[in-house]
Subunit: 448 residues, 2 copies
């Protein structure tokens, strides 16, 4: 799951990057800049080989990559120590350092994640439709790899391994660009991964690493590296995703933010509404599926509003409310218009009373981010209408928004959650990293 | 099916456009230019209404649109006569005029096409996956509309009706931009369509027409009209598709060209190879699924090459060949390197002897356009390898490439054929004009 940085951390992240880039750029002469178009062409050529690799070959490579990470733990930890030292020196926050830090346990978890991806079903070659035509032609739609996936990530070294392994499993080559702060860690992990690839007989360019901290490299990736990149996946804070969505000349799988809603409908059971609201907001506040706004139907406000607000406040959550919510508890602070569109990623929730189902749906369509939204109700007809009319990647009835996660969907690992309407939507796992083609078998048919 | 204009016609098309635009631009003052962003916002707002319309409501609208086209035949024919007169005056070719021309029969066919689209199954709301999780959550993936589809087309007035009707059936709003030469015809058809929409209670902005011949409008569409366009479908010649693919800032469903191959493998039956080759090349030479290159395996060249080449030549097809093909028949002319990548769209074929299956696949990957490619063989293993390794939208075994058509796939009407690897690939019918979301039903589940 993409975990968006809290705002303060995102700012720290960019300030760390700025300082680092500045110190680096002095040393990067134009003629020393890596040839990124050549990197893209290498990935494209490798993609064709990986696309034709069998499930067995890809899984052998994933296991060899895991073994190589285990073997090279001292090298990777040394590189990470260097990154950590630099980040501390530049004043990174504790939260930032925690995301950057590797240790034995975390590295073993990275190796295990590779081994788990090897156990997933192969997404390539799945037959997703099959029909026979009156003339006897048998047409199958079969899953094929997408090609070359570029992943642009920030400060979490594990993404280097997770993302490239998911791409490989789906028969894709990947091009990875890390944030400056995790450059040495990602480079060391990359070196381990390509050893595994080569041991398994796959080309090292199938996992290509952008070998520079030069920020211009991101622009080159976003332009598609002369047609060699098929899709870009940004993994990081809002400013990164925003830049990628704005500048990319190739498709992007991402969500900018998760302004997720819990709507307590007139037919909601109070106990269930309380459990779901507390879980959706507070289980983890920093994930994209965390609820940010609570909508309560006017019909049940007299009975449900005060207890729900009290539960949130008692659990340590700040509540910013409309007039009705303010009247329900003296600890509520007034919400401004911007609160309805705020992704707090923190123990803060906006709360509003709405005039029925249609008003709730209107509020979500106007202020939401098409990520994940839930209705709590015992009224099946109202639930169906909500599930039908709310145009979000994930819509839930009587369940917490925190289920917005590829693992919870049974997809295994995921490379992120997408809110676009093209190709991938919701959790992006290995199946979503494939395309398809039509395979037609005949017996000499010609067209009249 | 998208029928790409023959080169000469495409050039004529742009010269017609140039002259017309010049004469028009004198009359278009900047302050009279339509507000295209407002047009996009109108379409976006209408898209939400159409997305929620029932199958019954959409089909009623399609039937009302057909009725309205029938009622307004005199108005549409008068507008078309005006377009025809202008095009003739500007020296358009007979082929160009034939595409532009409407008459009673063609207009009735347009109305019937609308009625046929009404009979297709509703693509919205289809459940394309369903799984129950161990915690009892039931997750469904359900088809939803894409949003707003922009269609940019040239000189064929029927596209105005076909394309907007397919978009409507899939719950999308459409924004249509016609080429200059068919402006009055398309405008008159549009007027008929919106009468039908309104009679059925759907918003007229669900089918929005760009009311200017100003070429700057195309640029505005390609930029996405301030985020209101979700996907662009170009319908016309290569120069149009090329411009759209190059400049569009939103996804495009299209193919630039169809350089389609027939590969006669070592295990091919000569009679079947002859039937398929002649049909693939000559049934209709102007369609994108027409074969442009014939590859013959060296193993069967002694027996198959001369008869196949003779059949083509006898049928009036020009054959441009490599040395082996030249030696097979004195009427063969030499092929140059560019012939392997040429989309003739005419009775011309390039022919080459290749050293086996792998060389054939390599040739297709290097020179093809990932559109439609066929192998002829009785060797099942060779066929499977071809079907697996050739990365084209449509791959066939023992069948003509001319089956590259949504109707032949059983999709009903199609808006075009796409060769990209994202979202839509191969024939783009109503199902391919949808997106999806995840619908989750619970009983109060919260996440641990």
């Amino acid at each position: 799951m993409i975990e968006v940085l809290a705002k303060g951390d995102a700012e720290m992240s960019s300030s760390v990057r700025r300082v680092t880039d500045h110190s680096l750029q002095r040393g990067v002469e134009p003629e020393n800049r890596p040839d990124l178009a050549a990197l893209g062409r290498g990935a494209r050529a490798a993609a064709r080989k990986v696309a034709l690799a069998t499930a067995q070959e890809k899984n052998a490579a994933l296991l060899a990559m895991a073994a190589s990470v285990r073997e090279r733990m001292p090298l990777i930890l040394a590189a990470n120590a260097h990154d950590m030292e630099e980040a501390k020196h530049e004043g990174a926050t504790e939260a930032f350092l925690d995301r950057l830090r590797l240790d034995d346990v975390r590295l073993l978890a990275i190796a295990q994640a590779l081994e788990e991806i090897a156990t997933l079903a192969d997404p390539v070659g799945r037959i997703t439709a099959r029909f026979e035509r009156p003339n006897g032609l048998v047409i199958e739609r079969v899953a094929t790899p997408l090609g070359v996936v570029a992943v642009v990530f920030e400060s979490r070294p594990n993404v280097m391994a997770d993302a490239s392994a998911l791409c490989l499993k789906a028969g894709n080559a990947s091009v990875l660009r890390t944030g400056s702060a995790s450059f040495r860690s990602a480079e060391a992990i990359h070196a381990a991964l390509v050893v595994g690839l080569e041991r398994a007989g796959l080309p090292r360019q199938a996992i290509s690493f952008v070998p520079t901290r030069d920020r211009a490299a991101v622009g080159a990736l976003l332009s598609g590296l002369e047609g060699t990149i098929d899709v870009i996946v940004p993994r990081g804070g809002k400013s990164l995703v925003e830049r990628v969505q704005k500048e990319a000349r190739v498709p992007v799988f991402a969500h900018l933010e998760g302004v997720c809603h819990v709507y307590v409908h007139a037919g909601a059971d109070l106990g269930m509404a309380r459990d779901i609201t507390l879980n959706a907001k507070l289980r983890r506040t920093g994930v994209c599926g965390a609820a940010e706004t609570l909508l309560i139907d006017r019909a049940v406000a007299p009975t449900h509003l005060a207890p729900l607000v009290k539960s949130l406040l008692d659990a340590g959550c700040e509540v910013r409310g409309d007039a009705a919510t303010l009247a329900a508890d003296h600890r509520v602070t007034p919400a401004s218009e911007t609160d309805w569109e705020e992704e707090y990623l923190d123990a803060i929730i906006a709360c509003r009373v709405v005039d029925g189902l249609e008003a709730a749906i209107d509020h979500i369509e106007r202020h939401g981010s098409h990520h994940t939204d839930a209705i709590v109700t015992q009224d099946r007809a109202a639930a169906e209408r909500f599930l039908c009319e709310v145009d979000s990647a994930i819509v839930l009835h009587n369940a917490s928004t925190q289920f917005a996660d590829g693992g919870e969907f049974g997809f295994g690992a995921e490379i992120g959650i997408a809110t676009g309407r093209m190709h991938a939507r919701g959790p992006v796992g290995v199946e979503q990293l494939t395309s398809f083609k039509y395979r037609i078998r005949g017996a000499g048919q010609i067209r009249a």
